[in-house]
Amino acid sequence: MEYVHSVWNYIASVCSCLHCAEDVGAQNIEPNERTHLLVDPVNHSPALRRSNSDGLSNDYPTHFPKKMTKRHYLDLYRIQQCLLKDVPSHQFYITKPIYAKDTLQMKLFIEKALIGVNQIQIDHKEAVVVPFQIP
Protein backbone atom coordinates (compact mmCIF):
# COMPACT_ATOMS: atom_id res chain seq x y z
CA MET A 1 0.00 0.00 0.00
CA GLU A 2 2.88 2.30 0.88
CA TYR A 3 4.48 1.52 -2.44
CA VAL A 4 1.30 2.44 -4.28
CA HIS A 5 1.28 5.74 -2.42
CA SER A 6 4.84 6.45 -3.44
CA VAL A 7 4.09 5.74 -7.11
CA TRP A 8 1.00 7.93 -6.95
CA ASN A 9 2.98 10.77 -5.33
CA TYR A 10 5.62 10.44 -8.01
CA ILE A 11 3.00 10.84 -10.77
CA ALA A 12 1.57 13.86 -8.97
CA SER A 13 5.03 15.42 -8.69
CA VAL A 14 5.71 14.89 -12.42
CA CYS A 15 2.41 16.57 -13.28
CA SER A 16 3.08 19.50 -10.95
CA CYS A 17 6.62 19.92 -12.36
CA LEU A 18 5.29 20.10 -15.88
CA HIS A 19 2.74 22.66 -14.77
CA CYS A 20 5.44 24.72 -13.06
CA ALA A 21 7.72 24.50 -16.10
CA GLU A 22 4.98 26.00 -18.19
CA ASP A 23 4.60 28.79 -15.67
CA VAL A 24 8.31 29.55 -15.72
CA GLY A 25 8.34 29.62 -19.50
CA ALA A 26 5.49 32.05 -19.52
CA GLN A 27 7.23 34.26 -16.98
CA ASN A 28 10.34 34.57 -19.16
CA ILE A 29 8.25 36.16 -21.84
CA GLU A 30 6.20 38.44 -19.68
CA PRO A 31 7.26 39.12 -16.08
CA ASN A 32 4.54 39.33 -13.51
CA GLU A 33 4.21 39.79 -9.77
CA ARG A 34 5.57 36.29 -9.01
CA THR A 35 8.75 36.63 -11.04
CA HIS A 36 10.89 38.28 -8.40
CA LEU A 37 9.64 35.89 -5.72
CA LEU A 38 10.79 32.83 -7.62
CA VAL A 39 14.32 34.15 -8.16
CA ASP A 40 14.63 35.56 -4.65
CA PRO A 41 17.38 33.49 -2.92
CA VAL A 42 16.20 34.56 0.53
CA ASN A 43 12.84 32.94 0.09
CA HIS A 44 13.02 29.27 1.19
CA SER A 45 9.35 28.45 1.08
CA PRO A 46 8.95 24.82 -0.12
CA ALA A 47 5.89 25.78 -2.10
CA LEU A 48 7.97 28.09 -4.31
CA ARG A 49 11.00 25.81 -4.54
CA ARG A 50 8.90 23.16 -6.25
CA SER A 51 9.66 24.75 -9.57
CA ASN A 52 12.20 22.06 -10.34
CA SER A 53 12.02 18.34 -9.75
CA ASP A 54 15.53 17.99 -8.33
CA GLY A 55 14.67 20.09 -5.33
CA LEU A 56 11.52 18.07 -4.87
CA SER A 57 13.47 14.82 -4.86
CA ASN A 58 15.85 16.21 -2.30
CA ASP A 59 13.04 17.20 -0.01
CA TYR A 60 11.48 13.74 -0.09
CA PRO A 61 14.26 11.36 -1.09
CA THR A 62 12.59 8.23 0.24
CA HIS A 63 9.18 8.74 -1.38
CA PHE A 64 9.93 8.89 -5.09
CA PRO A 65 11.83 6.38 -7.17
CA LYS A 66 14.69 7.95 -9.08
CA LYS A 67 13.93 6.14 -12.32
CA MET A 68 10.82 4.56 -13.67
CA THR A 69 11.74 0.93 -14.14
CA LYS A 70 9.77 -1.69 -16.00
CA ARG A 71 8.33 -2.85 -12.71
CA HIS A 72 7.01 0.62 -11.97
CA TYR A 73 5.24 0.76 -15.30
CA LEU A 74 3.74 -2.66 -14.66
CA ASP A 75 2.51 -1.52 -11.27
CA LEU A 76 0.99 1.59 -12.80
CA TYR A 77 -0.74 -0.53 -15.42
CA ARG A 78 -2.08 -2.82 -12.69
CA ILE A 79 -3.46 0.16 -10.75
CA GLN A 80 -5.16 1.50 -13.87
CA GLN A 81 -6.73 -1.88 -14.53
CA CYS A 82 -8.05 -2.02 -10.96
CA LEU A 83 -9.54 1.44 -11.28
CA LEU A 84 -11.20 0.70 -14.61
CA LYS A 85 -12.51 -2.71 -13.62
CA ASP A 86 -15.59 -1.37 -11.85
CA VAL A 87 -16.73 0.86 -14.72
CA PRO A 88 -19.80 -0.81 -16.27
CA SER A 89 -19.97 -1.38 -19.99
CA HIS A 90 -23.13 -0.72 -22.00
CA GLN A 91 -22.67 -4.08 -23.71
CA PHE A 92 -23.92 -5.84 -20.60
CA TYR A 93 -27.23 -4.01 -20.69
CA ILE A 94 -28.18 -4.38 -24.35
CA THR A 95 -29.17 -8.01 -24.21
CA LYS A 96 -32.49 -8.41 -25.97
CA PRO A 97 -34.03 -6.21 -28.64
CA ILE A 98 -37.71 -5.37 -28.64
CA TYR A 99 -39.62 -7.42 -31.17
CA ALA A 100 -41.17 -5.55 -34.07
CA LYS A 101 -44.23 -7.75 -33.67
CA ASP A 102 -44.76 -6.48 -30.13
CA THR A 103 -44.36 -2.86 -31.17
CA LEU A 104 -46.90 -3.22 -33.96
CA GLN A 105 -49.35 -5.07 -31.73
CA MET A 106 -49.09 -2.42 -29.04
CA LYS A 107 -49.54 0.40 -31.55
CA LEU A 108 -52.74 -1.12 -32.92
CA PHE A 109 -53.97 -1.86 -29.41
CA ILE A 110 -53.47 1.71 -28.25
CA GLU A 111 -55.09 3.18 -31.36
CA LYS A 112 -58.19 1.01 -31.00
CA ALA A 113 -58.32 1.69 -27.28
CA LEU A 114 -58.19 5.44 -27.85
CA ILE A 115 -61.21 5.18 -30.14
CA GLY A 116 -62.96 3.09 -27.51
CA VAL A 117 -62.19 5.58 -24.74
CA ASN A 118 -63.43 8.50 -26.82
CA GLN A 119 -66.71 6.71 -27.40
CA ILE A 120 -67.43 6.50 -23.71
CA GLN A 121 -70.25 8.89 -22.85
CA ILE A 122 -72.07 9.32 -19.62
CA ASP A 123 -75.79 9.87 -19.94
CA HIS A 124 -77.26 11.49 -16.89
CA LYS A 125 -80.78 10.13 -16.69
CA GLU A 126 -81.34 11.22 -13.14
CA ALA A 127 -80.46 14.30 -11.20
CA VAL A 128 -76.84 14.15 -10.13
CA VAL A 129 -77.30 16.55 -7.24
CA VAL A 130 -80.02 15.47 -4.89
CA PRO A 131 -81.18 18.09 -2.39
CA PHE A 132 -81.21 17.09 1.21
CA GLN A 133 -84.64 17.00 2.72
CA ILE A 134 -83.93 19.10 5.74
CA PRO A 135 -87.03 19.28 7.99
Binding site: Y99, A100, Q105, F109, G116, Q119
Partner: protein
Protein backbone atom coordinates in the same frame (compact mmCIF):
# COMPACT_ATOMS: atom_id res chain seq x y z
CA UNK B 1 -70.94 2.36 -22.56
CA UNK B 2 -67.49 0.79 -22.55
CA UNK B 3 -68.42 -2.02 -24.92
CA UNK B 4 -65.86 -0.93 -27.48
CA UNK B 5 -63.11 -0.90 -24.88
CA UNK B 6 -64.06 -4.37 -23.67
CA UNK B 7 -63.99 -5.65 -27.23
CA UNK B 8 -60.52 -4.23 -27.85
CA UNK B 9 -59.22 -5.89 -24.70
CA UNK B 10 -60.83 -9.21 -25.56
CA UNK B 11 -59.34 -9.11 -29.05
CA UNK B 12 -55.83 -8.43 -27.84
CA UNK B 13 -55.92 -11.29 -25.32
CA UNK B 14 -56.92 -13.79 -28.00
CA UNK B 15 -53.78 -13.05 -30.02
CA UNK B 16 -50.93 -15.57 -29.85
CA UNK B 17 -48.50 -15.36 -26.92
CA UNK B 18 -50.61 -12.64 -25.26
CA UNK B 19 -51.75 -13.58 -21.77
CA UNK B 20 -53.09 -10.29 -20.43
CA UNK B 21 -53.76 -6.67 -21.30
CA UNK B 22 -54.61 -3.55 -19.39
CA UNK B 23 -55.48 0.07 -20.07
CA UNK B 24 -54.78 2.95 -17.70
CA UNK B 25 -55.78 6.59 -17.84
CA UNK B 26 -53.55 9.61 -17.23
CA UNK B 27 -53.95 9.31 -13.48
CA UNK B 28 -52.87 5.65 -13.57
CA UNK B 29 -56.36 4.34 -12.87
CA UNK B 30 -57.36 1.14 -14.60
CA UNK B 31 -59.86 1.58 -17.44
CA UNK B 32 -60.07 -2.11 -18.14
CA UNK B 33 -58.14 -5.35 -17.83
CA UNK B 34 -58.42 -8.78 -19.41
CA UNK B 35 -56.58 -12.03 -18.97
CA UNK B 36 -53.80 -12.88 -16.54
CA UNK B 37 -52.90 -9.38 -15.38
CA UNK B 38 -53.38 -7.58 -12.10
CA UNK B 39 -55.44 -4.38 -12.51
CA UNK B 40 -53.43 -2.85 -9.65
CA UNK B 41 -50.35 -2.53 -11.87
CA UNK B 42 -52.01 0.17 -13.96
CA UNK B 43 -50.42 2.94 -11.88
CA UNK B 44 -46.97 1.37 -12.13
CA UNK B 45 -47.28 0.98 -15.91
CA UNK B 46 -48.32 4.58 -16.30
CA UNK B 47 -45.48 5.79 -14.08
CA UNK B 48 -42.88 3.76 -16.01
CA UNK B 49 -44.06 5.12 -19.36
CA UNK B 50 -44.07 8.62 -17.95
CA UNK B 51 -40.50 8.34 -16.69
CA UNK B 52 -39.18 6.75 -19.89
CA UNK B 53 -40.77 9.46 -22.02
CA UNK B 54 -38.70 12.00 -20.08
CA UNK B 55 -35.42 10.29 -20.91
CA UNK B 56 -34.95 12.05 -24.23
CA UNK B 57 -37.02 15.24 -24.33
CA UNK B 58 -34.97 16.61 -27.24
CA UNK B 59 -36.03 13.71 -29.46
CA UNK B 60 -39.64 14.30 -28.50
CA UNK B 61 -39.50 17.73 -30.09
CA UNK B 62 -38.00 16.50 -33.35
CA UNK B 63 -39.90 13.20 -33.56
CA UNK B 64 -43.45 13.19 -32.18
CA UNK B 65 -43.48 9.39 -31.95
CA UNK B 66 -40.55 9.57 -29.52
CA UNK B 67 -42.98 10.95 -26.96
CA UNK B 68 -44.58 7.52 -26.85
CA UNK B 69 -41.70 5.07 -26.48
CA UNK B 70 -42.44 1.37 -26.33
CA UNK B 71 -40.98 -0.26 -23.25
CA UNK B 72 -40.34 -4.01 -23.03
CA UNK B 73 -39.50 -5.61 -19.70
CA UNK B 74 -38.23 -9.19 -19.77
CA UNK B 75 -38.88 -11.48 -16.85
CA UNK B 76 -38.13 -15.16 -17.33
CA UNK B 77 -40.22 -16.43 -20.20
CA UNK B 78 -42.65 -13.50 -19.93
CA UNK B 79 -42.35 -9.99 -21.17
CA UNK B 80 -44.30 -6.86 -20.38
CA UNK B 81 -44.81 -4.32 -23.13
CA UNK B 82 -45.83 -0.79 -22.12
CA UNK B 83 -46.74 2.17 -24.29
CA UNK B 84 -48.35 5.50 -23.57
CA UNK B 85 -50.24 7.49 -26.16
CA UNK B 86 -51.51 10.76 -24.85
CA UNK B 87 -54.30 10.07 -22.41
CA UNK B 88 -53.99 6.32 -22.05
CA UNK B 89 -51.29 3.78 -21.30
CA UNK B 90 -51.44 0.21 -22.52
CA UNK B 91 -49.79 -2.74 -20.81
CA UNK B 92 -49.58 -6.15 -22.46
CA UNK B 93 -48.22 -9.30 -20.85
CA UNK B 94 -46.80 -11.83 -23.26
CA UNK B 95 -45.71 -15.38 -22.68
CA UNK B 96 -42.63 -16.53 -24.53
CA UNK B 97 -43.72 -19.80 -26.03
CA UNK B 98 -41.85 -19.71 -29.33
CA UNK B 99 -38.97 -17.61 -30.64
CA UNK B 100 -40.53 -14.72 -32.58
CA UNK B 101 -38.79 -13.36 -35.62
CA UNK B 102 -37.13 -10.04 -34.88
CA UNK B 103 -36.12 -7.58 -37.52
Amino acid sequence: METQLEKVLSDIVTQPDTVGALLANRQGLCLGAKGDINPNVSGIGMAISDQVAGLEPRNAVAQPEARHPTICLYSGNRRCVIQRNGEITGVIYKQHTSVPTSD
